[in-house]
Amino acid sequence: MASTHDLTWKVAPHLDRHLVFPLLEFLQERQLYNDEEILKAKIELLSETNMVDYAMDIHKSLYHTDQVPQEMIDRRVEVVARLKSLEESAAPLISFLQNAALVQELRPDKQYNIQMLNERYQIGADQIEALYQYAKFQFECGNYSGAADYLYQYRALCTNPERSLSALWGKLAAEVLMQNWDIALEELNRLKEIIDSKNFASPLTQLQNRIWLMHWSLFIFFNHENGRNGIIDLFFHDRYLNAIQTNAHHLLRYLATAVVVNKRRRNVLKDLIKVIQQEQYCYKDPITEFLECLYVNYDFEGAQTKLCECEQVILNDPFLGKRVEEGNFVTVPLRDEFLENARLFIFETYCRIHQCIDISTLAEKMNMSYDEAERFIVNLVRSSKLDAKIDSVSGTLVMSTNHINVHEQIIESLKNLNMRTYMLAKNIVEPAQAAAQASAAAR
């Protein structure tokens, strides 16, 4: 049952129609569902967009006919007509914007620009509005790059904050669909700022906006090179974490994966586990269960089985299971990283509570052969990450127990007291001295 852990149906409602496409494509590729079902879903999806030609193609391939339903044809006519009319109404502004020399005249001051456009080129609010509509229409038609450009320009001229926000959403979607991850990340941050600073009419809308933002960000974070940090930063932000816990528990999977693969962010693991435990009653999947087994129950066998399931989940997840082709090999980099780190997790925990481990059992626990395991351990010992020795004769790994000296502990805990007291004294004395000097000078 590969589709048991599929989250597409949960994620999709929070995405734009167009953003769901890549997900469906992925599912089609993975053969998780019937081809037919997916094609139907695609048509459904397209019905509200303007990509009628595409819908027709899919229809043909789905029913193996050349016949296309009348509605689609009608719709196509309608779309073309609307395109024409929008093009016309937005034409003056577009022609202005396409002229590089004229664009030079624009200044950062919005009011000035609007006035200038109005006076010199007779471009008023109507035309600007038309630009927005046109951009939206372009987006609906699948012309993302055009839409992105127009929206960018629209934002420079727009005065209505609501419109500006939705233009930004549109821009983000367009960039994501064009896979311009860097620009998309910029837009994402901009959007985040607006959402956090803006006073929404109801907190509910704000919550909804945050949830959308998180869903959309998945595209970016799992593709952008710095995304792994980004996702942890964003999702662990208090308000966003609350949003996840309130209404989007399934995002925990992505957060958990990001934490596992990110070696430098171990410190958040504890928080993550707490959240997972809290939300356990309403969301669990192999990845969260793996962490729970390992860090809450210390159940290594359970963790082992969960790890196998995790692999499947990652492979079948549109965001996590991205493939990279290297020569003839097709690899899923995230899976490899995940498995490696997960193994390390298991190993670390295991070593911490044992003083003597049979290497063959260890190998079994980590899904490795004996030799592999031995090599793995040796590497760890050599890089001085592990304080242990291998007893090759009996085939065991012996930990050297080392307890921190009590004196060290105490000194450690008192170390910064000195500094703090000093700072405190300084803070108290300095103003007093300053005052004394001031009074002396006055005299």
Binding site: P203, D238, N242, K274, Y298, I353, H354, N416, L417
Partner: protein, 917 residues
């Protein structure tokens, strides 16, 4: 009779007055308890005919018996007057006289029967005596002779009343005549005659007409019902009895205004007013007028019981319900009538008849009536002894209220007044939220069967209004039976979402608490917990009214029980511990008054508290609650106590520790009797690691039978006990062993191997236990890294030092208002070092990790009742562990802010959730 002065209406009719006192006496006996009705009847008949005679012939001849009776009555009157002026000397005299008269009367009546008049006098005296004693200030002011008389009276009465105890209670128990004669006698002596009229049903109209024409006919009525009306009433009758068609709107309106104007004045009988108004409703000319009068009837019915402590008589309440239904019928029949209590009405507005098209406004407030109805119902349950049949009878009336509430809500929703509808919905919620599904089903069934009873009610109504045929007939439109959805959850969902949408802050908060309570009953812990945390109720509850605080406490208690049933020991403990911290759990849950040794309550406080009590059927079983709380404490505390001395943290549950100390001090330990004993015995067993005995002792508790899933809970409990026994054992004896094999432990504690492994691993990880596994041999090897006492003390010192520094810094910050610059994030760092640093840090971090939610989530407020409320126990748990909280700052902060949900107005979000859930 001095009181005559006041009775201006009667002054014209001298002759009738003479009979007044007689009538009164006879009336008394007519309504006397059934036990001696027979005798009284004959007596009464005589009296009645006599009085009629006297009307016509003047008072010449009287039987001795009659005379004695009259004498007695006049003495009673004297006593009554004396009470007015607080003249105890006079009262004592009269009392003696009364006793002598009694002898004579009984001699004449040649029976042991004691006349009602006498009993009445006794009751009067008793009440007045009690009143005088309660009023200390007045007592002080008394002259010495008066005070002396008062005291002697007290003695005498006490002695005397013993003989008649039964009769007195009988007399008091008879609500109708008690009600009127008591209440009216107190304030308006001249009302006694009007009061007498009240009980008389209005005769059918032919009778009445005759009545108007010919007074002498009265005698012909066989004296079954002695009828003596004041002039006023007769006039009214004359006016209205002529012919219904001749009565004009103006007549009715005038009369109505008259009656209303008399309200609350001296000389107005409350019950009488109700009757008069009810009569008027029958002759009302337009629906609007009828409605207007009906509203007055209802408020007059509410007026019947003037005191805050007592409740409305049940019969009256039922009649009131019937009237409410009538009002709703009318409103449904004539949708153009608008009920409003804000605008000043046009005088003539109600004159508009059925055919009037535009809206007709009538003054009234349905919601206020409904709420009053509800609180009267609540009060009557409070006042009734829960072990009597009365209580159950009264509970059966619940569907009656439900149907009115439902109809009112429907009506309000129809006219689009959702705000008021939300209020009504809350009332309905409060009747349903505490009912488990079984009780709810029973209620539904009862509502189904209730037709018979309602027939009774209608009969009663019919009887009551045996007057002229109703001028404006209102057919029954609104359903007379409540409808209930299958599950109470459905009902709750509908009502709660209505409240969330339209209610005001308080209504919403209360609905939320009820919702939480209901979820908790239905074992939906996570949902209930999320509702609580997201609504931020525990932050603001201390600012709310006491009733809501009680509701909050109840919800917390129920949540704790729910968590316990689900096996979430820490959470359950977090919910319950605050309730038990103060030792006033009864008071906090409003389930009885707890006596405090050091703090005397004033009578006012006691009265207030009594008014807050929950009716018995809503109680949360205190034994179960206590057992749950203590067992949670045992499971948490015992392993804690077993850990080596210097590692030991502050006790989590001080209440439990104190109890344990007390029980340990006992020289001999008897077999356990109550919950506490059982738990203490179990604790002793657990400390030794004897899980079986511990479990057996706990399983012996009776209260478990109250649980629906008893076996499941006990199984859960057994596992938990085993686990904690293992932990206790390991912590206690780890120093004595070099190694222990897994198999041995498994057999010792009867735990599955995997579970045991994971438990021990966890302890090792958290450095509670200095040990590690030896995998090839499958055993735990203990490292003896014993700290010396010096080490332990040093750790403590280090802890204290950092607390000191921190408080210094905080003091600095507080005085300057700025933060200390140049310092590292000290709390965070402190935590880092703590974590790296060894067992101390580990331990507490573990603590925070496992407790985090419970601690921060629930360290809400458990207010107390009365004066204690303000004191509360603000975050008792949190603050006592302040240092830990600071150190675990980051971790705790997260949990705390979980509630922070959506900044500013989190309520909305959770409302959304509420609807979703």
């Amino acid at each position: 009779m001095a009181s005559r002065f006041w009775a201006d209406t009667e002054s014209e009719e001298e002759e009738e007055e003479i009979t007044q006192s007689d009538d009164e006496g006879s009336e008394e006996s007519a309504t006397a308890p059934s036990g001696w009705v027979n005798k009284a009847k004959s007596y009464l008949k005589g009296a009645a005919s006599d009085s009629d005679d006297s009307d016509t012939q003047g008072r010449t001849v009287k039987s001795t018996r009659e005379r004695r009776n009259e004498e007695m009555l006049s003495t009673l009157e004297q006593i009554r007057n004396a009470t007015k002026i607080n003249d105890w000397v006079n009262i004592v005299d009269c009392f003696d006289k009364l006793n002598k008269q009694l002898e004579k009367v009984s001699r004449i009546n040649d029976s042991n029967k004691v006349p009602t008049t006498y009993i009445k006098a006794l009751v009067l005296l008793e009440d007045f005596l009690a009143e005088t004693f309660a009023n200390k200030e007045a007592k002080k002011k008394m002259s010495s002779s008066n005070a002396k008389a008062l005291n002697s009276m007290k003695q005498k009465l006490k002695k005397n009343n013993k003989q008649y105890e039964e009769l007195i209670t009988n007399y008091r128990a008879n609500p109708v005549d008690d009600e009127e004669s008591e209440s009216e006698d107190e304030e308006e002596p001249d009302m006694s005659d009007d009061g007498v009229d009240d009980v008389i049903e209005y005769p059918s109209d032919e009778d009445r007409e005759k009545d108007g024409e010919d007074e002498d006919d009265e005698g012909e009525r066989k004296g079954d019902w002695v009828k003596s009306q004041s002039k006023k009433d007769k006039q009214m009758d004359k006016q209205f009895m002529k012919d219904p068609s001749e009565i004009t709107w103006e007549d009715v309106d005038k009369k109505f205004k008259d009656i209303i104007a008399a309200r609350g004045k001296k000389g107005t009988g409350r019950v009488e007013q109700v009757e008069q108004l009810t009569f008027l409703t029958r002759v009302a000319k337009t629906p609007a007028q009828k409605l207007e009068i009906l509203f007055s009837v209802i408020s007059a019915q509410f007026d019947v019981n003037p005191s805050l402590l007592g409740h409305m008589p049940v019969g009256m309440w039922k009649r009131c319900v019937a009237n409410m239904l009538l009002v709703l019928d009318t409103l449904n029949q004539y949708p153009n009538i608008v009920v409003d209590d804000t605008v000043d009405m046009d005088e003539k507005e109600t004159k508009r008849g059925v055919d009037h098209k535009g809206p007709i406004r009538v003054w009234g407030n349905l919601v206020a009536f409904l709420e009053r109805l509800d609180s009267e119902f609540f009060k009557s349950l409070q006042c009734t002894d829960p072990y009597t049949k009365d209580y159950i009878e009264r509970l059966r009336d619940e569907p009656l209220f439900m149907v009115v509430a439902q109809n009112v809500q429907d009506y309000l929703e129809r006219i689009g007044d959702f705000k008021s509808a939300a209020k009504v919905a809350l009332r309905r919620i409060e009747l349903v939220y505490y009912k488990p599904q079984e009780v709810y089903d029973a209620m539904c069934k009862l509502a189904e069967q209730n037709t018979g009873e309602e027939g009774d009610l209608e009969g009663e109504v019919q009887e009551l209004s045996r007057g002229p045929p109703e001028f404006v007939k209102i057919p029954e439109i609104v359903p007379r039976k409540p409808t209930f959805p299958e599950s109470s959850r459905d009902l709750m969902d509908v009502l709660v979402s209505l409240v969330y949408k339209y209610g005001d802050e308080r209504t919403k908060a209360r609905a939320m608490l009820c919702d939480i309570y209901h979820h908790a009953i239905f074992d939906e812990y996570p949902v209930a917990r999320d509702l609580l945390l997201m609504s931020h109720l525990q932050d603001g509850i201390q600012l709310m009214d006491i009733a809501s605080q009680i509701l909050f406490n109840r919800a917390m208690a129920q949540l704790g029980l729910c968590a316990f049933r689900a096996g979430l020991i820490n959470e359950a403990h977090g919910c319950l511990t605050e309730l038990y911290q103060s030792g006033r759990v009864k008071e906090l849950l409003a389930q009885g008054v707890s006596q405090s040794r050091y703090h005397e309550k004033t009578p006012e406080q006691e009265k207030l508290e009594r008014r807050r009590q929950m009716p018995y059927h809503m109680h949360i079983n205190l034994e179960l609650l206590e057992a749950t709380h203590l067992i949670c404490a045992v499971l948490i505390e015992v392993p804690g106590m077993a850990s080596p001395a210097y590692d030991r943290r502050k006790p989590v549950n001080k209440t439990f520790r104190r109890l344990l100390e007390i029980s340990e001090r006992q020289a001999f330990v008897g077999p356990p009797e109550n919950v506490r004993d059982h738990v203490m015995a179990a604790t002793r067993a657990l400390t030794r690691g004897d899980y079986q005995k511990c479990f057996d002792t706990i399983a012996k508790l009776d209260t478990w039978k109250l649980l629906r899933n008893k076996d499941q809970v006990l199984d859960m409990l057994k596992t938990k006990i085993k686990e904690e026994a293992l932990r206790t054992y390991l912590l206690t004896y780890s120093t004595c062993y070099e190694s222990l094999s897994l198999d041995q432990l498994t057999s010792m504690f009867d735990l599955p191997e995997g579970r045991l492994h994971s438990l021990v691993s966890k302890m090792i990880m958290l450095e509670e236990l200095h040990a590690s596994w030896d995998q090839p041999t499958r055993c735990v090897v203990f490292h003896n890294v014993e700290q010396t006492r010096l080490h332990g003390l040093l750790f403590q010192m280090a802890d204290k030092l950092s607390v000191l520094v921190e408080s210094n810094e905080r003091a600095y910050e507080a005085s300057t208002g700025g933060t200390l610059e140049g310092l590292p994030r000290r709390r965070g760092e402190n935590q880092e070092t703590g974590v790296g640093g060894g067992p101390q840090g580990r331990w507490q971090e573990n603590f925070v990790a496992s407790q985090g939610r419970g601690r921060f989530g629930y360290s809400g407020r458990v207010g107390g009742t009365g004066g204690g409320y303000q004191k509360g126990t603000r975050g008792g748990f949190g603050s006592s562990r302040y240092q830990d909280a600071a150190q675990g700052g980051r971790v705790g902060g997260r949990t705390g802010s979980r509630g922070g949900q959506v900044d500013g107005a989190p309520r909305m979000v959770n409302l959304n959730r509420g609807i979703r859930a």
